[in-house]
């Protein structure tokens, strides 16, 4: 008996759904082994994590707080990834969104009517994030600079510049030396859902997902972006301006990450401070892949990833385990996911039989 991979005649829909689900289960199994090795009861840990993330409305709202930036950055990244533009700079775009939103709310509060302060802050975040992504996009479109390097490096620029601001010129003079800006005026606060910390950003994410779905399924522009992502030679032949579209798409991609940062600042922390750049932009890469770039799926996968983060915090508090458990699980999901993508194009075939010509391997 031998096992052979055979190329499928068409992409399997079933595999497209099964692979992420099985990947999640596999990562839980792998995580359980790790937990057992560090002398923790895997089952109890998982139950505690689940309770921590979904156990009550309050806990779930905390999961949502973390899911919102993942949704927005994940959606942003998915636009770039569809064009095979490897934007791993969502983190920096998010940071710029936060910086711009905080800047407008703090320093222009007297120039902008109170009712417009929040929209102006959010808009500033959107523009800042978009422009930050526009830099590597323009470099790529004009002179073919590799975007993986530029987007990644620009993250450090953004993060360090933000640090410079809240450690230096923007630091709250009445903050007892605490690194961070003063609190934003309440007019710039994003409304929250009930008495939780979850905020209106959730609605923005849902609207953005619907909008992206529409753009890619129903508009001329989305069709052109899809063609560019699939086959650049064909796009050129069809008269599609590749450079211009890459820049436009990346402005939108960065804008969504910028909005994520603006929501974090105006909705959660109410000031620019340490803790804005905690890796949402990188986790969003896992989110986008796991959701196979589908905008609606990104919403749900974000909640799942956020649950792992919140659940990790919970087991730290309740069981004395490191919060990194959640992050470890996030990372572990990626491996079976990447390996599993094989099954969408290939199928396993088990051949029974004894006679063989030679000892040939498989291609």
């Amino acid at each position: 008996m031998r096992i052979v991979f055979e190329k499928r005649q068409s992409i399997s829909r079933k595999a497209q759904v099964l692979v992420p689900v099985v990947s999640l289960l596999l990562s839980l199994v792998l995580g359980a082994i790790l937990l057992a090795l560090s002398k923790a009861n895997p089952w109890e840990t998982y139950v505690a994590m689940a309770k921590g993330a979904f156990g009550s409305w309050r806990n779930f709202s905390e999961t949502l707080v973390k899911a919102i930036p993942l949704m927005l950055t994940g959606l942003g990244i998915s636009i770039a990834f569809r064009m095979q533009f490897w934007n791993i700079g969502a983190e920096g775009q998010l940071v710029w969104g936060g910086v711009a939103a905080a800047g407008v709310a703090l320093f222009w509060a007297d120039r902008i009517p109170a009712g417009l302060l929040l929209p102006a802050s959010l808009l500033a975040g959107i523009i800042a994030g978009g422009l930050w992504a526009g830099i590597p996009a323009t470099l790529k479109a004009w002179i073919g600079v590799d975007e993986t390097l530029t987007t990644l490096m620009l993250n450090y620029v953004a993060i360090l510049y933000a640090e410079h601001l809240y450690y230096g010129p923007w630091r709250d003079p009445h903050g007892y030396g605490f690194p961070g800006t003063a609190q934003l005026p309440p007019a710039a606060w994003l409304p929250r859902l009930g008495n939780t910390r979850a905020h209106l950003g959730l609605l923005f994410a849902i609207i953005a997902a619907a909008l992206l779905w529409f753009i890619f399924k129903r508009t001329r522009w989305g069709f052109e972006l899809t063609i560019i992502g699939e086959n650049k030679t064909a796009a050129r032949y069809l008269g599609i301006d590749i450079g211009r579209n890459i820049v436009l798409a990346l402005l939108l991609s960065g804008a969504l990450s910028g909005l994520a940062g603006a929501c974090e600042v105006t909705g959660v922390s109410h000031r620019l401070q340490q803790g804005l750049a905690i890796g949402y932009g990188y986790t969003a890469i896992i989110v986008a892949w796991m959701a196979q770039l589908d905008p609606i799926a990104i919403l749900f996968v974000s909640i799942l990833m956020a649950a792992l983060m919140v659940g990790g915090d919970q087991v730290q508090m309740m069981m004395g385990l490191p919060a990194a458990v959640g992050l470890v699980l996030q990372g572990l999901i990626l491996f079976p996911l990447l390996a599993g993508s094989l099954f969408t194009e290939y199928k396993l075939k088990i051949i029974r039989g004894r006679e063989k010509a030679t000892t040939g391997g498989q291609v």
Partner: protein
């Protein structure tokens, strides 16, 4: 087969090979026999199951039923490595070579029992010996990207001989060759068969079957429909067997007075991808209701010519006019709006987007306007599907549904889809590059008919082809391109094949001075 008694054991025998794909019976109990020193032609239309059968033989597919015997012994072939161990090798239509490596490196690439640091000088020496013996002249130290397509094919054949192949499978080998190169290949094959090697030759061209093979097996819709000794059959009989009906070899080209000038090139110069001059002062005109054929050996500037006209390549000097308006170095989008359609040579790489549905591929020119999209840029999926269904029906594109990804269609059907899209969008000039390359008789006939229809409808057609028969039957005038220059333009009704051949070899038409 009545001559089994006189010949020794077949070197290869396939019995009752059956292979099913979802919805298709690709091979239906196909038998095949091959004897040492023999050339077998496997003839059939696209989708007849030739490639499937050969992919089974080299271990890329597994048969659902049937047995394979090599030198009388039952074998199971699980991979190309298994096949190579049995002395079976295949030259694929798309060459499997690494462009940035040398000939010698490519030939030893993937060999198992290589030392950690291979002795390339020794490898080159052996390659020289083999190429000397079979007249397969290639410099072992040249890089693949430096070689012409014909030379690359020689490398593929050398690779197989180097690895000790006894059974060579050639998948439409002449599709990329000039008539002269094809003749050379024929000689090489016969030198090898004289030494007891055997060859299987996949083709759908009758002339080649007649020229190359000893035996011919005809496949139609997955079934073996005939086994003939080549000497005892005729192209007409083979065509009938292959298509299942009588085939017209001649097309009706009605006399037609050409109208206004649609395309004009004035002393156009352009470089190829490597920055070397590819077009050196090309001038010609095409009028409404006229087909201008471009003849020439591949690599003499044909690709670049099509690309400068469609805006995909920069013109270094000279001018291009469409309907009297200068379009030199205008972006492709603008040239498309001038009513220019383009059937590119590279169908999969340029003409189609493999992962997208047939319907989307058909809509790739029309999506910019009503009725497929609104003024606001919103697509209308229902109209796109209706549009696609109409083209699928009109152009007889064989696809399970409009939503099927186009890469799952056969090459001929992908070409029909591109043709459908481009002809549908064409408003003045149609640039067709090797439109019938690799297509079967039925599909080729359809393509040529469509080109003539466009001409009769008053459009200007630039037809770049390597098939002189095609140019003579379809084009009104034929220009011969050699090293980026037009050697001469002749009326096809008055064309002399000898003269065309001379011009293709670089000798200027004395009559040029009169034109």
């Amino acid at each position: 087969m009545n001559d089994t008694q006189e010949t020794p054991v077949p070197i290869l025998e396939m019995r009752g090979i059956t292979k099913r794909f979802p919805g298709v019976l690709a091979n239906d109990h196909v038998d095949l026999e091959l004897y040492p020193g023999e050339v077998l032609a496997l003839l059939g239309e696209n989708g007849a199951g030739k490639s499937t059968l050969m992919n089974i033989l080299v271990g890329l597919y597994r048969p659902d039923e049937g047995e394979i015997y090599v030198r009388g012994r039952r074998v199971e072939i699980h991979s190309p490595r298994d096949a190579a161990a049995l002395g079976i090798g295949m030259v694929h239509q798309n060459f499997m070579l690494v462009p940035t490596m040398t000939v010698a490196e490519n030939i030893i690439l993937g060999l198992r029992d290589l030392p950690f640091v291979p002795d390339l000088a020794q490898v080159s020496q052996r390659i020289r010996e083999i190429s000397e013996r079979y007249n397969l002249h290639v410099d072992p130290d040249a890089y693949i990207w430096q070689l012409s397509v014909g030379e690359q094919q020689r490398v593929e054949i050398l690779k197989l001989i180097y690895r000790g192949a006894e059974i060579l499978i050639l998948d439409e080998p002449t599709a990329v060759l000039t008539p002269q190169e094809a003749r050379e290949l024929n000689k090489v094959i016969h030198m090898m068969t004289a030494e007891g090697k055997s060859a299987i030759f996949i083709t759908h061209k009758m002339e080649e079957v007649m020229e190359f093979s000893d035996w011919v097996r005809v496949l139609r819709q997955g079934k073996l429909v005939a086994v003939k000794r080549t000497a005892e059959t005729s192209p007409q009989e083979l065509a009938r067997l292959m298509v299942g009906r009588e085939v017209l070899f001649r097309l009706e080209r009605k006399p037609r007075e050409p109208g206004d000038v649609v395309l004009e090139l004035q002393d156009v110069h352009a470089d190829d991808d490597k920055g070397l001059p590819a077009l050196r002062g090309v001038s010609f005109t095409i009028r409404e209701g006229e087909i201008l054929g471009i003849a020439g050996v591949a690599g003499n500037g044909q690709r670049e010519l099509a690309e400068v006209i469609t805006g995909l390549r920069k013109v270094k000097a000279g001018h291009i006019f469409i309907n009297g308006e200068e379009v030199t170095n205008k972006p492709p989008r603008e040239i498309i709006t001038h009513g220019v359609s383009h059937i590119p040579a590279d169908r999969i790489g340029m003409g189609a987007v493999g992962n997208l549905p047939v319907a989307d591929n058909l809509a790739m020119k029309g999506y910019r306007h009503e009725p497929l999209s609104s003024k606001l840029g919103i697509l209308n999926p229902r109209r796109i599907i209706d549009f696609a269904r109409r083209l699928i029906q009109t152009y007889r594109i064989a696809t399970p549904t409009p939503q099927t990804r186009i890469k799952f269609l056969s090459g001929g059907n992908i070409q029909k889809a591109i043709l459908a899209r481009e002809i549908n969008a064409c408003k003045g000039l149609l640039v067709a590059v090797y439109p019938s390359r690799g297509l079967d008789v039925g599909a080729t006939e359809a393509v040529r008919k469509r080109l003539l229809e466009q001409r009769d409808a008053g459009k200007a057609v630039l037809l770049i082809s390597e098939d002189l028969e095609e140019l003579l039957s379809v084009a009104d005038r034929i220009a011969v391109l050699f090293e980026g220059q037009v050697m001469g333009i002749v009326k096809s009704d008055e064309a002399d094949i000898e003269l065309l051949g001379l011009m293709m070899a670089g000798i200027k038409d004395p009559a040029m001075l009169r034109m």
